[in-house]
Structure formats: structure tokens, C-alpha cells
Symmetry: C2
Subunit: 212 residues, 2 copies
Amino acid sequence: MTLYGYWRSSAAYRVRIAMAIKGIDCEQRAVHLVKDGGEQHGPVYRALNPAELVPTLVDGELVLSQSLAIMEYLEETQGGPALLPSNPAERARVRAFCQDIACDIHPVNNLRVLQYLQGELGLSDGQKDDWYRHWLAVGFRALEQRLEASAGRYAFGDTLTLADCCLVPQVYNARRFKVDMAPYPTLNAVCARLEALDAFIAAAPEHQLDAH
Amino acid sequence: MTLYGYWRSSAAYRVRIAMAIKGIDCEQRAVHLVKDGGEQHGPVYRALNPAELVPTLVDGELVLSQSLAIMEYLEETQGGPALLPSNPAERARVRAFCQDIACDIHPVNNLRVLQYLQGELGLSDGQKDDWYRHWLAVGFRALEQRLEASAGRYAFGDTLTLADCCLVPQVYNARRFKVDMAPYPTLNAVCARLEALDAFIAAAPEHQLDAH
């Protein structure tokens, strides 16, 4: 298997965490999202992923995009600790938490959207940061409430799930934008416990070969 | 079971299609997203869903948000036709297609984002429409390429999947914003076949009790 990603992409970071927890050995290839206008827009990567986004997983014949789909695929085909509960209602709640991040928080704040806001719409750095922090706050407020009901040591009780794989990269991203994290004590506590785990350390952006 | 939705919400529309295909009988409650500043922001709905978004499914003790999580929950717990293939690689491709829509196209163009663009950032109607059409075009260009490889009668071969449940509402939404659909012949052909099916007709926005 080969994973195409970028050290700072929070979507790729999710998949790296899931792989590290499961102990999956996978070749990593870097797609530089900024250099030369973004390698994701070049013909080589576009042939793999017409959406021009990372990550992409290649497993034999299968070329798969979308971090959540990739993690579910790994869950269904690879060994290691399960990252979804076996009970359907619990699985659903974990998936919904992941989608709160992957569908509602991350997409409005990813690189291409911020580039459009500043390029096409001419927003200042301050307005761009306000945009980012607004959607982050709206999203984290809801996550904090969900975690108050679901969290143990981790996002759902004391067992690692895909929710944890999504949470840490989004918090990492928020810190880059200097979001005030004080209103989210449960989220912060869960995140601190996760970030101390070996799998999360190994998957962290700073520990990737393409980090700089 | 009770589904909280809104006739024009494309996320709620996805779930209605899946329910109609599976023949699930479910009470529908309308959450008016525009009236009085939006009922989704009121205390009654917020207690159900702190993210203040539709849809929400209530099934006994379970209160579940996120359209994709709801559809996977229905897939795992209810009868009727399966909407995910049994092969893991095929399941993954269907999920990725759903996420292309639910994570990459829809979130940057949903009501709250368009409201922020016009309210906080003061965009004109024309600039707002340009924003919408830009992200739609970026997303549909990738979907068209995916469909060229995967489509039969429907998005993945000749069997209905969750991908079809996501595709039709996004096209419905695009038409509202008068997006030029000419560049997407495969997508259009699949969509036309889907829209002729009873389940898709029953789930259409105009056929909901709260439509007006």
C-alpha cells in the first residue's frame, strides 16, 4: 500500500494515526500542497485523484480518496485494534463525530478555501483568520458538548476510535491559527491524553519526512 | 424513528432517499432553516443537535446527526435493499464518492456559509453565486471523471448505492443556483435515470409536507 499525503494536511494526518494504531506498514509519498502552485494540481497526481486533494491510498488495483473512506477500508481489511465499536448505535455516533470534523469543520477551512478567500475575494489576513476561527468555534462548541456525554480517557469511553484519529489533527490545525481553546476543557483533556500516545506521536506532522 | 429535516436541505434529502429505497417508515418533523432566524438555532432543536444542522435521526435512545452516519446506521440495522456493496474495495469507493459530495462540495455551499459570506463579509449576490458555482464546478468535474469509470445505469454499476442518494440532492441544489450542467454528461445521464425512480420522486423536496 502507498499513501499519498502531506505532512500538514489534517486529512492525511487522520489516516496516518489510524495506520499507526493498527500497526500498518505503508509507503508514504509526499504531495507538496504549496510548492509550484501545489503538486496536487499537477497531471501526475490528478491522474490518481481528480479531486486534487490529499490523501489518496493505493492498494493494488484500488485507488481510494477521502480520509474517512480510507480509514473504514483499513478497518474492514486490516488487522490491529478495531477503531469502530461493534454495536451499530455506537458505531454511528463515532462516525457522526468524525463527520462533524470532516464534513463541517475542516472543509470550510482547508487550504483551497482560504486561498480563494484571499485570492478571488481579496480578504485580508485578519478577515481570513476571523473566518477560520468562526467556523472552528461553531464546530468545537458542538464537539465539546458531544464529548461531555461520550468521553472517557478518549473521545468515546476508554477505547481508541476513528473519532480520536479525526480530533487530534483538527486541534493541531486550530493551534496553527491561534484559536482560543479555553472554552473546550473536555476536548483539550482528551486531546492531551491522545497526543501522549506513541501512535499519535509517530503520525504527527513534525515527524514526517516531508516536514520542514 | 423520527427524522428531523427540512424540505430543501440536501443532507436531509439524502436520508429521505435512502429511507424510501429501503421502505423505512419514519415520522418526519420539519425544522425550518430560515424562518425566525432558523429553528435549528433554537433551544428545542439545539438540545437534540448541538451542531444546529439538519438532519437528526431519533431512534429510541439514539439521537444521531450527520446524514452519512445516519444512512450507514440504517444500512446496518434496517431491512430493504443494501446500499453498500459487500466487497470492501467497492464499499470504499462508494463511500469516497459520498464524501466527495458531503465533505467537499456541500459544506462550502450550505446555508450558513452563504449567510456568512453575505452578512459578515458583505458579498454581493453575484459574488455569492460565483462562490457557489466555483466549488460546484471543481467538485462536479471530479465526480464526472469518477462516474466515467464507475457508472452503469446508476453511479456504481446497475445497483443503487448511497452514492446515488448523495448525487441527486447535490444536483438539485446546483440547479437552484443555475449552475451550467453541460460539462457533466455522465453525471446528468445517471441523475436523470435516478430521478425517474419512485423512491427519488417520493423523497424530492417538492413532495415534502413542509415544502412551500
